[in-house]
């Protein structure tokens, strides 16, 4: 795609027409929340304006239209990640809920081991910390290198025949590092373990093919991929989903609920319904389908290529600034489109974000990005934190140069 086509993509995002204090918005916080294109907003509005009814329950015309749109959304999402069947995609509220569902529902014998890493988002580690405590399991934490990469030998050592579950972040929201997921899945399967991959940062920025990776479970946040807030997906291989316990139960999860000899006796539906209790976020699911379709039309290889082009400019610019230290490896092929950094002349990363926002309408994230253990590993206390600028499909070279100009001014004024 050329610059003209990317400019057309940018024009799909209404919020980018806003100015703040006379300045155009430079939005570099997509690793937290992606902006929404009008195609996604329209799809959700269409639900609310044309068929705001219950899907899969009501037999009237509006119910039928809602049911069709809802099931089409699941099909679109399954195509987006190349799932074998739409039913392997379960709607959740976000990747955090998907990971909690996995931690609470996968059957693991007492005395077995769960393996995770020091690079995980709190949502990728804490559900498993708690599960291990609750079920008397061992939890082993593989330490990432300080640049966010892994030594594959550590995985070969840590994963043994007692390992039943592995939780690994596919693309780090701090270093941007891509994990060698296919290799890790092979090792895990060899030992008899299943792998859940935290794809919250990977799915929006790279082509995700769950069948090619052979990953067992994958957690995705839709709000990071141009979709609505409060929507997530858990992908799982069907046979594994069938073997898992329910997380939430209630309406919509059952094929029958009998009353026998004074007892309530439920029979549950197969996946995905057994995991989707209660009235669902239909508009959200339709928005998720629209977001998946929107990104697929652009092409995820194109998205990845574009982000790496902009990331290269950003990283080169950051290096030229002097007292700026970027986390993560130099090799762009090992990275997703974000740069997390500290500046020697600025004590707290929050000051970087505040300055850029106030003076340049440049929006980045600061803090520890819900990855406390890795910040402690690097010796960065929460009060200092790191600053993170993250790139997406609507960013352009002007955004990057405004960001770098702002940082240059900040370094001058704080030196």
């Amino acid at each position: 795609m050329d610059d003209r086509q990317w400019a057309r993509v940018r024009s799909d995002f209404p919020v980018l027409k806003r100015k703040i204090n006379g300045r155009p918005i430079v939005y570099l916080d997509s690793a937290c929340m992606a902006l929404k294109p009008r195609q996604v907003i329209s799809a959700m509005n269409e639900y609310y304006e044309q068929f705001p009814a219950c899907a899969g329950r009501s037999i009237h015309r509006l119910g039928e239209e809602a049911s069709n749109a809802y099931s089409e959304a699941r099909e679109k999402f399954a195509r987006f990640i190349n799932a074998a069947k739409p039913g392997e995609c379960i709607w959740t509220r976000n990747a955090t809920e998907s990971l909690n569902l996995v931690a609470n529902s996968v059957r693991i014998p007492k005395g077995s081991k769960i393996v995770t890493t020091s690079l995980e988002h709190h949502s990728g580690s804490l559900p498993f910390v708690e599960r291990a405590k609750k079920s008397g399991l061992k939890l082993e934490v593989i330490k990432a290198r300080d640049d966010g990469t892994f030594d594959i030998e550590d995985w070969k050592r840590a994963l043994d025949s007692t390992t039943k579950l592995v939780s690994i972040v596919h693309s780090s929201n701090v270093t941007g590092t891509l994990a060698p997921l296919k290799e890790i899945v092979e090792i895990a399967h060899d030992r008899g373990a299943v792998v859940v991959s935290d794809d919250a940062q990977y799915a929006p920025h790279h082509p995700l093919d769950v069948q090619h990776l052979d990953v067992d479970l994958s957690a995705i946040s839709v709000h990071k991929m141009c979709g609505p807030t409060g929507m997530g997906v858990l992908y799982g291989k069907m046979d594994l989903l069938e073997s898992m316990d329910m997380f939430l139960v209630g309406g919509n999860t059952v094929s029958d609920v009998k009353f026998e000899d004074g007892r309530i006796v439920p029979s549950y539906l197969p996946p995905p319904q057994k995991f989707e209790a209660g009235l669902q976020n239909y508009a959200g699911a339709i928005g998720a389908g629209a977001a998946a379709e929107y990104l697929q039309k652009i092409g995820m290889h194109e998205v990845e290529k574009r982000e790496r082009q902009l990331l290269r400019i950003m990283l080169e610019g950051l290096k030229e600034l002097g007292p700026v230290h970027v986390l993560g490896p130099d090799d762009l092929n090992l990275r997703t489109g974000l740069a997390t950094f500290v500046i020697d002349t600025v004590e707290s990363a929050h000051d970087i974000a505040t300055f850029l926002n106030d003076r340049y309408a440049v929006m980045i994230r600061s803090g520890w990005h819900c990855v406390g253990p890795f910040h402690y590993q690097l010796g960065i206390p929460p009060s200092k934190g790191t600053a993170r600028a993250s790139i997406y499909i609507y960013n352009n070279e002007t955004d990057i140069s405004t960001f770098l100009r702002g940082l240059r001014a900040l370094v001058e004024q704080t030196s």
């Binding site: 929050h350 934190g385 004024q413």
Partner: protein, 77 residues
């Protein structure tokens, strides 16, 4: 004027005790036992900085950029 949030009250209390504090100093103090009753945000500090910026907008504290970053001070009298 709406009631101050708990995080804003935390920042105000910390600044009442000190003269000119950096962002890091405020965040470190917020985690000390003496402020534990009022300062309950996440260690990452985002919520305190958001609250501090709201206090600036309300004219209750000031923020000045200098060597090392921002320095915060309460507006007295």
């Amino acid at each position: 004027m709406s009631t101050l949030s708990r995080n804003a009250q935390c920042v105000l209390k910390i600044l009442e005790a000190g003269s000119l504090l950096t962002t890091s100093m405020i965040l470190e103090l917020a985690r000390r036992a003496e402020y534990a009753a009022i300062c309950k945000g996440c260690a990452g500090g985002d919520t305190f900085v958001i609250a501090a910026n709201q206090l600036v907008e309300r004219g209750l504290i000031t923020r000045k950029l200098g060597k090392g970053g921002y320095h915060w001070q309460i507006v007295r009298g």
